[in-house]
Amino acid sequence: MIRCTNLTKRFGARAAVDGVTLEVRAGQVCALLGPNGAGKSTLLRMLAGLLDPDGGSASVAGYDCRASSIAFRRAIGVVPDNLALLPELTIEEQLMASARVYGLDRRTARDRTNDLLELLELSAVRRTLARDGSHGMRKKTAIALALLHNPGAVMLDEPFEGVDPASAESLAGLFAAMARRGAAVLFSSHMLDLVDRIATQVVVLRDGRVVRNEPASPTKRAAALYFDAIGSQPERDIAWLASR
């Protein structure tokens, strides 16, 4: 379970996350929506123990996020905004190295690495250095790293962005399947059609605050919920751009 109460983070005078309270139970897939700068990545970083909150409390799988203990880190799978890849290792080496650090024996590490490479269609580029790969490849590698140790709570920062549509579809199915098997999944996204496909709960952030937190409903799509909460931007133009 992922839970936070009154979670707050300030950068200078500005509150990036302002008293956020939410709960994602085991078996749920929660989509975190909001415009750029709404505080989604900051919230996810705090929940992953990468950023200390200024106020409030947060726990994942029963562990305090602030303590960021070894047991806590074993229990979570994270795709952070910067993907967190090791630059000098190939995609395959990343997965093997990470699996070994999580305590998997060599054979299990090899099997799981192969499974994930195949699932994410990375087999052909397994020997490419992570830093040389395309953005989509690197994103998929980060997702593979988050799932490798089969964590009980998964937090993903924009997992579908930069990934080709077919892979995004297959990833969405994978996250839903993980939740069905008891994992709590929290992800941020701007891809509202995929949110509709897999989310069981939708949270909309604006200026660091939760402005909507509702169970997903087949009658009210994520786009409608989002624009209800945020409002739509008027069409704009600049005179000199319109003339030629």
């Binding site: 070894i70 910067n82 890849l85």
Partner: protein, 362 residues
Amino acid sequence: MARVAVVLAVVVRSAFRNARGIGGFLGNNFFLVIVLLMAEEPTDRPSSTAIFYLVIGLLYAIPLANDLTLRIPAERFGLWPLGRGERALIHAANLVLNPLLAVAIAFAALSRHPAVRVGLLASGVVAPLAAYAFKWLARVLRRFDRLSLLRLIPPFPGPLGGLIQNHVREQLRMLDPYFAAALSLGGIVYRISTPNVDATAGLVIGSLVIILMSTLAQAHLGFDSASENTRERLLPISGAAVLWARDAAWFAIVAALAAGYASWPVVTEAFIALAIGHSQVARPRVEQKRGHFASGALWPVGIGQTVGIPVAGAFAHRFGLPVALASVVIYALSLYYYGRKLRRAWADDVESVAGTGAAGPA
């Protein structure tokens, strides 16, 4: 011409705002050793070793003379509507604007020897050309990246083996190990080719190899991109394990470089270099740039290493194994203490200390 002036203004402004190049040049322990040795030079005439210092100094300083236009992303520079002649003019201006020329002029003004003065000024002019040549060579070598020998480095045994593999490759992207290798090979050639080898020569060369590599030993977190840093913080390992993986990588390289000089003093010096280097982990990191010499904090860590390494080596030379064992204990204590400190620093101010670079709001 106006466009060239605008681009040069941008380049010079960014060069002044980001004076890391000069900091990097001065933050290397071996540079400090060269300065100390130069201070011992006779003042009335240039000694036979002056040219040696000059060449070493020049090699160290070449990265400083890099084309200033590299401060502009290549894609952006390529997109700007500049003609071929304008681009050539901007690159040529680098010969005059590069910070190394200013450093060379300053040193030449301080020097008392006309020969050294001329040498320094010549270095200031030659260095940018050498930097161009290195860049060209690097570009050619990059085409063969798939054949890179670094990729042949296998994972090390144990759960942290993959991390150590990553760190070995990372550290071998810096110039320090190759410079140390040249020194080490030179020493071996000297021992083979000289009939009456000085008994302490091996010890001195071994020490110099450790000092040359010591900046890398304190530059632990400086290699980390925001991405790599986040990964290490997410992994379920202690701060000591994070440091140990880096130390093991450093030790593996040093073991290969100093194999010809293996002795209790050299082993002791290696452990002391790492133990003192750990203290840098809780301070703001000094970012490392691939293809350059490592850059560290000269005070207090760099000075501590430059003094501590030979002192420890001298003690080990005199008292042998007990001092070497003491250095292992000091290393282990330092690993434990600074490992905890690293995790605490990450927890207290995860962004600024560890330099994840993503401190801003999402």
